[in-house]
């Protein structure tokens, strides 16, 4: 095949062409559709193979191993113990604690982190000197890797040499100085502080984009009708931000369920399990205690929780948001 040049292309351009008969057109169309399907299939195949190998197979394998007592050595588990791993899990105070702590993080995220992000987004939507700079500044933590964030904050919150206590001392708030991550009673809040710092930027950008998608006319119309700032927010901005907020809540909850790296670097789940999440417990059993069967059972429960939440949320909360997309696809067919 020689390389295609301009000269090759020229004759293919619209020009005098022999008119085709109707059946001929029909045949070409049908053939085209078949060829189209083959093309789609071929393009999908590599991705599909990878998806099966890297996503479906591990899920199945984890599901399978969760019914076995297995230390991870040898090719496949052999010691079948039925649902023992699951009954053990739901009697394990550490795992039950994981669920509680997960819930706490979700509640805190929804009540503190998202409103904060929304407030900042609306603020940064106002005409403001250096607006772009602030947007960048608030979004920057999200770009940082979790591990770097973890290391940074473990230094920042260090009780002896950390900057946090030092800064508090400078402004005369020594009484607020704390051992942050070293105290079982404060560790979850310190962790949440880091999480908020890390992720609010993402939600802020989402809200900002959502806010900019609201036509100015609507707000102007409301103002002409005499709506105050709060009323405009409550009855125009907030409802129209609905889809964005629903997506942001979804991301926030799923993120909290699967939280691992930040906790691992900051506390490894300690002190005495007081900041452990499901993923940390799973890692501990899988890679430190070599109880791969039990760890798989934890991963299965995590997967199911995420799945049920994701499906339920999309079915009941995001139905209106996704409906457009689905009907859109139906039209294409």
């Amino acid at each position: 095949m020689r390389p295609q040049t301009l000269a090759d292309k020229r004759p293919a351009r619209p020009g005098p062409r022999r008119a085709r008969t109707a059946p001929e057109r029909e045949a070409t169309r049908r053939g085209g559709r078949l060829r189209g399907l083959i093309t789609v299939g071929l393009f999908l195949l590599p991705a599909l193979v990878l998806f099966v190998l890297l996503v479906l197979a591990p899920i199945m394998l984890a599901g399978y191993s969760s019914f076995f007592k297995w230390n991870g050595f040898g090719f496949l588990p052999t010691n079948f113990i039925g649902l023992d791993n699951f009954t053990r899990m739901f009697a394990d105070p550490i795992f039950l604690g994981d669920l509680q702590r997960g819930l706490l993080l979700i509640v805190l995220s929804l009540v503190v982190q998202l409103p904060l992000a929304l407030g900042l987004a609306l603020l940064l939507n106002q005409p403001l000197r250096g607006r772009a700079f602030y947007r960048l500044l608030f979004f920057a933590p999200y770009v940082l890797s979790e591990v770097i964030t973890g290391v940074l904050f473990s230094m920042f919150l260090s009780p002896e040499r950390g900057m946090a206590n030092h800064l508090l001392g400078l402004v005369g708030l020594e009484s607020l100085a704390s051992t942050w991550l070293s105290d079982p009673s404060t560790v979850m809040y310190s962790l949440f502080l880091v999480m908020t710092w890390k992720y609010f930027g993402l939600h802020m950008i989402l809200y900002l984009a959502g806010r900019q998608g609201i036509p100015k006319e609507l707000i102007e119309a409301a103002q002409l009708d005499g709506a105050s700032g709060w009323k405009v927010f409550r009855h125009v901005t907030l409802p129209l931000l609905g889809p964005t907020i629903r997506i942001s809540v979804f991301l926030s909850v799923i993120g909290a369920i699967q939280l691992f790296d930040l906790v691992w670097v900051l506390t490894e789940g300690g002190p005495i399990h007081s900041s452990e999440t499901m993923a940390v417990t799973m890692f501990d059993y899988g890679f430190r205690r070599y109880q791969v069967g039990y760890a798989s059972a934890i991963s299965v429960v995590m997967f199911l929780i995420s799945l049920v939440f994701a499906l339920g949320y999309q079915r009941f909360v995001m139905r209106r948001d996704t409906e457009g997309a689905i009907t859109g696809m139906r039209d294409l067919r």
Partner: protein, 432 residues
């Protein structure tokens, strides 16, 4: 029409390439495994070790080069890995039943699990002609049911590293030899406004040293061995060990925020010690080098004393606790792998490593190669040991070992009683 067919050719070609790419990778792996001992006498040995930094990395590299020069048919493919990476990577490959020909091991419970999964070779017969040149204390950790599955190249012990200057400030003139003297000294240090002990509560393993040593002193080595065999730690002596530790914890001897402190981070246990912010730490032979790396070298101010005796205990005050490192050989490795281990265990080759100070003598007659003054302190105490116990989180199966670490951490944090610690460890041992 023409342009369409051209497009479909490209499509098919792309798909084929991608598929070939996937398949090719798998074939490559298989080929490597088969390539171990091929017919033309060429042998490739894969070696995973954990000395990924200086000063040990160049020593191993030069020994590999030397061995390859002497045996032109052997190629040794070395993969140096950081410890945590090594552990997770080895777990992954062993799950598919395919271990590297030679790989690092700490012996104990993990090695026993690998033996059970028939991943490692029984070296007893292969090394019988030269195994008596190895230090018996070092070798012991790699023996399972009387058979040897690893060759040690490092052995050390845990003891108290203390800051002589701070001890003098508190009016202590000699290191304590009994537990009650030790507690008295802790009180004196506290009274003098000095943090007595640096501890990494986040890392958990440094805390388990205290319980392990107390269990050794109170219950004795045999009790620890028997507990592992019978899967029951239900022995009043272990509860006593926990109570002794609680006596120490109740004095609040650790630095502020120790529960969140790591071992080798800038504000961790080693740095607290190295900066002179605490008077002692219970740590292995590597302690001075980590202090140097994270803070500063205490030099002659840094002393070492063995873990004190417990009055009325069944264990000897000369029993030591610690561990080292060795190499295990995969079940299907070529004989050259064992020959290479013999080569690096020659006294003159082992000395090269010992001289760097990164590893400690595991081969008889190399003790004089220890140059560092701190290392000499350890070697001296270790040489007089009457018994040896491997780190509990290595000696026991991983789930039991981690439970020891966890439970002792809970005891130190004050959320578990000595009785609960024993009950939890027993429960973990029985679910094993």
């Amino acid at each position: 029409m023409r342009s369409f067919s051209r497009r479909s050719v490209v499509t098919i070609a792309t798909a084929a390439l991608l598929l070939a790419g996937c398949g090719g990778g798998q074939e490559g792996d298989g080929g490597q495994a088969d390539g171990n001992a091929s017919a033309n006498g060429k042998v490739t040995i894969e070696w995973w070790h954990i000395h990924n930094i200086e000063p040990m990395l160049p020593v191993w590299d030069s020994l590999v080069k030397e061995y390859q020069a002497q045996h032109p048919n052997v190629t040794i493919k070395v993969t140096p890995l950081q410890v945590e990476n090594f552990k997770s990577k080895l777990t992954t490959v062993t799950q598919s039943g395919d271990a590297p020909d030679i790989f690092h091991t700490w012996g104990g419970g993990v090695l026993a699990q690998q033996v059970e999964a028939s991943l490692v070779k029984d070296l007893t017969a292969d090394i019988s002609s030269w195994s008596d040149t190895l230090s018996p204390v070092a070798l012991q950790s790699y023996q399972v049911d009387g058979k040897t599955y690893g060759v040690p190249h490092d052995i050390g012990m845990v003891g108290f590293w203390y800051n002589k200057k701070l001890f003098a400030q508190a009016g202590i003139d000699a290191p304590p030899t009994t537990w009650s003297e030790f507690l008295e000294d802790v009180k004196k240090l506290k009274a003098a406004g000095i943090t007595p002990i640096a501890l990494a509560g986040k890392a958990k393993w440094p805390g388990h040293y205290y319980w392990a040593y107390l269990a050794m002193r109170v219950a004795g080595l045999d009790a620890l061995k028997k507990a592992a065999e019978t899967k029951s730690f239900d022995n009043p002596d272990f509860v006593t060990a926990g109570q002794k530790l609680k006596e120490l914890v109740d004095l609040k001897p650790f630095q502020e925020g120790f529960l969140g402190a790591d071992y080798d981070k800038p504000d961790g246990q080693a740095a607290t010690m190295g900066n002179g912010k605490a008077a002692m730490e219970l740590m292995g032979q590597w302690a001075p080098s980590v202090q140097r790396d994270t803070a500063k070298d205490l030099g002659d101010d840094l002393g070492f004393f063995p873990f004190p005796a417990v009055e009325g205990g069944k264990g000897a005050a000369t029993d030591s606790f610690g561990g080292g490192g060795g190499n295990a050989v995969a079940a299907d490795a070529p004989p050259e792998a064992v020959d290479f281990l013999k080569f690096i265990s020659q006294p003159e080759n082992h000395r090269k490593g010992v001289e760097t100070g990164a590893i400690f003598p595991a081969v008889k007659g190399t003790e004089d190669a220890v140059k560092d003054k701190h290392a000499k302190l350890v070697t001296e105490v270790l040489g007089k040991s009457t018994g040896f116990q491997l780190y509990l989180d290595q000696a026991y199966p991983p789930s039991v070992g981690q439970q020891v670490n966890d439970s002792v951490a809970e005891l130190i944090a004050g959320s578990k009683t000595p009785e609960q610690v024993v009950a939890d460890i027993t429960a973990a041992a029985q679910s094993e």
